[in-house]
């Protein structure tokens, strides 16, 4: 085991897959040798694999996604990068109408081994067009798998699984975790989709969350432990497929659930999770399900405004204390 940053673990996963399978290639804006990706994830890969396999593109999001799709259905395995999650809006047709539906509407004639990487989340004061968390849109689109890794160990194992998956995978990262370190095995490993990771075990309340909010939920759980409240923290790691079992089993044990994501509240993934739990574990709930989300506003710019917008440890703790 070696301690690695999320960024380096991700890069290592990409590199290993490119060495293993020559069909794998990377395309996107500024992923190549001049810049190495806006968050430096692909830095050094163009030097190792050449400019064809780590390919800078024009600023043409819809065609980046669509060309990746066209390459995927004709024998390559593209890992396309959209620089910011907010910019997938420019590629929605290719992602949601084409890639997601292609296997289905053509009656299973083709696989779509496409990975589309992008990054969500606030915390960097880069305002409404570079800070959103839009994963629910894609969860609402049948045909897409969605990975949401928040830790170095997970991001490496999941990117390798994503690249080997025959279906389109939306691979979402978070801006604030690239420098976070975690122990990562030296030997090769893959993490199957649909298996949650339990970061803290507890008996009094279940906290389910994604991205940077998993880190905040762990901090909250550690503080709650000092106050005598035992919280279980679950990170789903993939939203599609979703590990319902780990969540439902946990709720059956704790009887209480707090859902925490950085999304604006209305129509967020937390709403879907709450609905699933009331359908499948209603009788085990001892209190209403609490949702901790951002308010229904665009992401603001100024630091005090943005800090107010993004949920934090204190809000998670107070949500827990309301029901425990």
């Amino acid at each position: 085991m070696t301690e690695k940053t999320y960024r380096d673990a991700l890069k290592e996963g990409l590199r290993e897959e490119m060495l293993r399978d020559e069909r794998v290639f990377i395309m996107g804006e500024d992923v190549g040798r001049n810049w190495g990706g806006a968050f430096k994830v692909t830095k050094g890969l163009a030097e190792e694999f050449g400019d064809d396999r780590v390919r800078d593109t024009p600023i043409s999001e819809n065609t980046i996604a669509g060309a990746a799709l066209g390459a995927a259905i004709t024998g390559l395995i593209p890992v396309a990068e959209i620089m910011f999650g907010d910019l997938i809006t420019l590629a929605m047709d290719q992602v949601c109408n084409q890639a997601a539906k292609m296997r289905y509407m053509f009656g299973g004639q083709t696989s779509v081994p496409l990975v589309l990487r992008s990054v969500f989340g606030g915390g960097k004061s880069i305002a409404s067009h570079h800070s959103q968390s839009l994963e629910a849109w894609f969860m609402h689109t049948p045909g897409l798998k969605i990975a949401v890794p928040s830790f170095a160990y997970d991001v490496k194992g999941l990117i390798k699984t994503a690249i080997r998956d025959p279906d389109p995978v939306m691979f979402f990262e978070h801006k604030l975790v690239y420098d976070r370190k975690e122990e990562v095995p030296e030997e090769e490993y893959l993490i199957p989709f649909g298996e949650a990771r339990v970061h803290r075990e507890g008996d009094d309340v279940t906290i389910w969350g994604t991205f940077f909010m998993v880190h905040k939920a762990i901090e909250a759980a550690d503080e709650l432990a000092k106050q005598g409240i035992s919280a279980e923290v679950i990170d789903p790691r993939t939203l599609v497929p979703l590990d319902k079992k780990t969540l439902i089993d946990s709720v059956k044990k704790t009887g209480r659930l707090v859902l925490v994501t950085e999304e604006t509240k209305t129509g967020a993934t937390t709403a879907e999770i709450a609905a699933i739990v009331q359908e499948e574990a209603f009788d085990w709930l001892d209190a209403p399900i609490k949702r901790v989300n951002a308010p229904d506003t665009p992401v603001p710019f100024s630091p005090p405004l943005e800090q107010y917008f993004i949920p934090d440890k204190e809000r998670i703790i107070s949500a827990v204390r309301e029901i425990v």
Binding site: G66, G70, N97
Partner: protein
């Protein structure tokens, strides 16, 4: 003319096959056997015929919402194609796609799409794949005059030009985007002249003349295969009928309609083939008879095929059960 007699027969056969297929679709629609809507290819047959005749079987085409002609001309199984239009389980997409998504991958069709202009990025990517894998295959991407005003047109032509992708951009200019005439949507005399902005060759051909379409495509295919990059070919043509199933197309002036109906794609290629002695009248008639029989038996197959079981709606979302 460099076109061989054999190729003239091929062009005649492809053009007529698409015509007979579409006439059959129209009949089946009249019998209320085709659910939903239809965008018939009637009138534009020479474009699909001329383009596909210049391709190899292993080459690809990207289709549109008006896609029956592309699929049939590329050599897709007519039984599966007609069954798909009727929503049958034996359809090429198992009844999941219908007219706007009619596709047969193994015949080299990347897909028909219901979103105008959405095929261009996919074609660019398929061409990138051919280039990176070194297969020497090329991609012909069909789209309409309407699509040429969408952002993907600029994005995809640009990307194909900078990377010298083996793709031939085929714009089927039928002068109307649904009911809106091109004079209201395009400032230039031709769409082909936009090629200049991307530093690629562009030309205009008579899209009702299969030989003209074939010759222009052949030159572009040769260039693409040799690493010379993409081309834009504007095929000027006309819909015999309206945009979709219930559109009587009353917005088109009578003189204009009469002019184009006098330029019938099947009659044009037939008269060229006869004149060049590639065919005798009897041979032309025999080909028609044979094709009609094929189309009739495909229709019979489609009509007699079963509908899918309702719960088959749940299949094929993912490769395996998630």
């Amino acid at each position: 003319m460099a076109v061989t007699k054999k190729k003239l027969v091929d062009l005649y056969t492809r053009t007529l096959k698409v015509r007979l297929f579409e006439e059959k679709v129209w009949d089946l629609f009249g019998e209320n056997l085709v659910p939903g809507t239809l965008h018939l290819y009637l009138g534009q047959e020479a474009v699909a015929a001329g383009v596909t005749a210049a391709l190899k079987k292993s080459d690809w085409v990207q289709s549109t919402h008006r896609g029956h002609g592309h699929v049939v001309a590329k050599g897709a199984d007519m039984k599966a194609a007609l069954a798909e239009l009727l929503g049958k389980r034996t359809g090429s997409c198992k009844g999941k796609g219908g007219s706007m998504h009619i596709t047969e991958f193994k015949a080299g069709v990347l897909g028909a799409t219901g979103v105008v202009a959405s095929g261009l990025p996919i074609a660019a990517g398929a061409a990138l794949s051919c280039q990176m894998r070194g297969t020497k295959e090329v991609v012909a991407c069909f789209f309409g005059d309407g699509a040429s005003n969408n952002g993907t047109f600029g994005e995809s032509l640009n990307m194909s030009a900078i990377w010298k992708l083996p793709v031939i951009w085929i714009v089927e200019n039928n002068f109307y985007a649904m009911g809106t005439p091109i004079t209201l949507t395009c400032p230039s005399q031709s769409i082909a002249q936009r090629a200049e902005a991307y530093c690629i060759p562009g030309c205009v051909v008579d899209g009702n003349n299969a030989v003209e379409v074939y010759e222009a495509t052949l030159e572009a295919v040769k260039r693409a295969r040799e690493g010379g990059g993409p081309s834009l070919i504007e095929c000027q043509t006309y819909r015999m009928r309206g945009h979709s199933r219930f559109d009587p197309a009353k917005y088109r002036p009578k003189e204009e309609v009469d002019f184009w109906l006098s330029k019938d794609a099947v009659e044009i290629i037939q008269s060229i083939a006869l004149e060049k002695k590639a065919l005798t009248r009897k041979e032309a008639k025999d080909i028609r008879k044979k094709l009609q029989k094929e189309v009739d038996s495909a229709a019979d197959f489609a009509v007699k095929s079963e509908y899918p079981e309702p719960q088959e709606a749940l299949d094929d979302v993912f490769a395996e059960v998630a």
